[in-house]
Amino acid sequence: MLRKFRLIFLFSVFVFVAMQADAQCFSYARAVCKTELGDFVHDGNYNATILSEGETAEIYKTFFTGQEYRIVVCKVDSLPQVDFQIIDGKDKILFDSKEHGGANIWDFKLETTQQLIIRVEVAEKDKTSNEKVSGCVSIMFGIKRE
């Protein structure tokens, strides 16, 4: 009985702490990343998570013609370079931040509405290293104001 209670307690503690980490990721996204949208209005969606070196995340989003979008990919300083690609439904790379000086802010216009994938990749500092760094990565979409 006592063992069961201890297990439940331990589980609750680490779930709570993990949730705290997530909440802090939200604070980071709101306070740091959102400001990088500049004159574009944030769409209001929250896309942020903890990623580690070598990890990849993908966001599926429909981009509509007639809107101009700004994409901001930001990460905490401790993480190595984070690059992003824009990919169409046939896995064709339409934009690769590596080809544009590792830019983390870029604007996009669509002449036809398309569902696209934003692939975010965290580089690895040292592939042979046993230890990997993790941290908050946020992807924000802004829409050009009228």
Partner: protein, 309 residues
């Protein structure tokens, strides 16, 4: 809004490791200083074995157009303001279950965005008050407080500021629900907002496929968003509310499946390096018959009525 494919044991090990070592990214007033501190703290070393397991996983997010984006799409398509289409603010007392509160938080957020874009500021304040009540009812702490409403009232003539306030409150609710491990409620808010946008857009066509072709195009392309909605819901299959919503979305899919959208050329991109803008182009064809459009109008009306009743 994420799908994580993983080994449950290793993810627990990883979460535990992260939970112990992660401190992240908080920033407030003394922003830069705190940013540095946060950045330092956000670095953590994790167990190699857990990391290897975790690297096998893949994170997938689905991003639906937010109520704000939907309202902007409608307005840019040349739509007009019609207050009769909005969910009356008096309906709020009907929403007592979590699901209804979440759906109508999305619906009122879409109405709030729509009224704001058309500078109906008094109505915007009323919709913001309703959004606050529903957010409070869902236990979303501090997403919308009295200061938010005051700020909105004080900036009534500054549309940019109003849009920023709406965007901020929506993000707060969305993030809170996601991070409090209530993803189905977070998805429900998004679906409520999305259905309301679709409802307003379809109603504004007056049932005609020819009156406003731009608006029709916006509606037709919601077929792509519907797939996003369904992918989001599929993640939570087995949850009563998610299953209910999935059922409704499947009814909509039956109709959207009869709408044809196809690229008739490859998708190409051209980049203006100086201005940091990439333009994405493709030729495409869309096809929707009047009969299918009528069915779509009827189904959207039916679902929206169910959500708001």
């Amino acid at each position: 809004m994420k799908k994580l494919l993983y080994n449950p044991v290793s993810i627990l090990v990883l979460i535990f490791s992260l939970a112990i070592y992660v401190s992240s990214c908080v920033t407030d007033s003394s922003q830069k200083k705190k940013e540095n501190e946060i950045n330092k703290q956000a670095a953590q070393k994790v167990n190699e074995k857990a990391m290897e397991e975790f690297n096998k996983s893949k994170l997938i997010f689905y991003s639906l157009p937010s109520p704000l984006e939907t309202a902007m799409l409608i307005k840019r398509a040349g739509a007009v303001y019609d207050e009769d289409l909005l969910n009356p603010t008096d309906n709020i007392n009907r929403y007592t279950t979590n699901l209804k509160m979440a759906l109508n938080l999305g619906i009122y957020s879409a109405d709030l965005s729509y009224t704001s874009l058309f500078d109906q500021t008094q109505r915007s304040v009323q919709y913001m008050s309703n959004a606050k009540k529903l957010a409070d009812g869902l236990g979303i702490l501090n997403a919308i407080d009295e200061n938010t409403i005051k700020k909105l009232e004080n900036n009534m003539n500054n549309r940019d500021m109003v849009l920023d306030i709406i965007s901020e409150t929506f993000m707060n609710s969305n993030a809170y629900l996601s991070e409090e491990n209530r993803p189905v409620m977070a998805v429900s808010v998004l679906i409520g907002g999305w259905i309301e946008g679709l409802y307003i857009a379809t109603k504004l066509t007056n049932g005609s496929l020819v009156n406003n072709k731009k608006l029709i195009e916006r509606i037709v392309y919601q077929k792509l968003s519907l797939y996003t909605v369904m992918n989001l819901l599929e993640e939570y299959k087995g949850n009563k509310d998610a299953d209910y919503l999935l059922g409704k979305m499947r009814e909509l899919k039956v109709i959207f499946d009869q709408v044809k959208i196809r690229n008739t050329s490859k998708v190409e991109a051209s980049t203006d390096e100086k201005n940091k803008v990439t333009t994405i182009k493709a030729d495409s064809e869309v096809d929707i018959s009047q009969e299918v459009f009528n069915k779509l109008l009827k189904k959207v009306d039916e679902i929206r009525t169910e959500f708001t009743s």
